[in-house]
């Protein structure tokens, strides 16, 4: 039970850039978790990790790149765990067929996270200008903004501010002093001087920016 909780809280947790190397070389130990939880976490990570990889490249952040590597390694472990869980759950041929579908999806999620790992390798090529130019024409772009202490958002929970449903902007990560919160959840708060990395279109960004800079009192 305790382990399950730990796994769950990986996203939306205030953390320093993890020592992913250590994780990679620890011997993989099988931890019993339900197939459903494993698959949910894998899907969540596969969605976050791509945006995170592009953000790392765009804002030239080695810390975000480290997190991508960490999540990539975590995905390997989750994929390993889910295989074992699935094998133990199969009793009949029908079970096995259904579980094969689940494993295929887990595999696809892992493949997506490996792709994110390939994207951050581009940082070494220093693709100055190319990526910002490409992304500038996208419907949805990545933005970075610092929260002003004048904003009403300070010390409020993301859930109660309803940022995503009011503005359409999706917060990918928050940097607070030298720590990070990846994929913040509704219980996470926003603090003055936090730096937010968010995804959305131009217009949506302006609404969010004015609110976070304290120029707008409310998100209408």
């Amino acid at each position: 039970m305790k382990k399950e909780k730990q796994a769950k809280s990986l996203l939306g947790r205030l953390q320093r850039t993890p020592q992913w190397k250590k994780e990679e070389f620890t011997e993989i130990e099988y931890e019993p978790t339900s197939v459903k939880e494993l698959l949910t976490e894998m899907k969540d990570i596969s969605e976050l990790i791509i945006d995170l990889a592009y953000s790392a490249l765009l804002f030239n952040s080695t810390e975000m790149a480290e997190e991508v590597k960490f999540l990539e390694v975590r995905m390997d472990k989750l994929n390993y765990d889910i295989r074992i869980m699935a094998m133990m759950a199969a009793r009949t041929k029908e079970d096995a067929e259904q579980l094969a579908g689940i494993l295929q999806i887990a595999q696809a999620a892992e493949k997506i996270s490996n792709t994110a790992g390939d994207i951050i390798v581009l940082m070494k090529l220093k693709p100055k200008g190319v990526l910002p130019r490409i992304l500038k024409n996208a419907d949805e772009q990545l933005f970075r903004i610092q929260v002003s202490d004048q904003s009403r958002a300070c010390s409020q929970e993301i859930g109660s501010l309803k940022i995503e449903s009011e503005t359409g902007m999706r917060i990918i990560a928050i940097r607070r002093k030298n720590c990070w919160i990846y994929s913040p959840q509704s219980h996470n708060t926003i603090q003055a001087n936090d730096i937010l990395i968010a995804r959305g279109n131009d217009e949506e960004f302006i609404t969010l920016r004015d609110f976070l800079l304290g120029k707008q009192e409310e998100l209408e």
Binding site: L11, V35, K36, L39, T40, K43, D44, S46, E47, L48, I50, E97, Q98, L99, A100, G101, I102, Q104, I105, Q107, A108, A109, K111, I112, N114, T115, A116, D118, I119, V121, L122, L125, P127, V130, L131, R133, I134, L135, N137, A138, D139, K162, E164, S165, E166, T167, G168, R170, S183, Q185, G200, N201, E203, E204, T207
Partner: protein, 193 residues
Amino acid sequence: MKQETLESMVLDIKEKSELMVDLSYSSLLYNNTTIAKEVYDLEEHIDHLFERLHHDLFEEVKKENISVKTAQVLLKLAKAGEEIADAAREIADVQLRDVELHPILKLSIRESDEILTKIHVKKESMLCGKTLGELKLGTETGMIVIAMRHNRRWLYAPTKKTCIDADDILFAKGPEDGEAHLIKLAEGRTDKL
């Protein structure tokens, strides 16, 4: 060929591949083979785009119009999109197989951070007769329409000019409270955006 054209091809691959992932999960969530087949078609389309980009990049490097390094970056970015598209196809493949889906699958998709939803637009809804550009559902509710069934036809990644009519079916993604708002709008229970 201008570098701009090559860059827009890379962006096209990136955006389509991300759409495909959402579509493939939606196909599982709603047992929808039409959407799953669309993912297959899109994957083929992306393969073609990628091959063309590959070819054009070599040509431009040969003509010394772009640097090797730029070509490398563009190719790697496109490759990433192509791989994501492959992964989406593998997800859609599970739906197209002749095996009943494991109940856990839907639960996992439903419980993840981003909600995928299917909404039927009723005739009393204020959405009827308006374009997506006018409605700005993304800004107003946080929900992005990724696909819809309109006039007995399927539309994928609808544009600002796409009009919503009564009896349309919208497939959208976004936050949980956005979903509730969009359902109310589509059922005509509220007119407030």
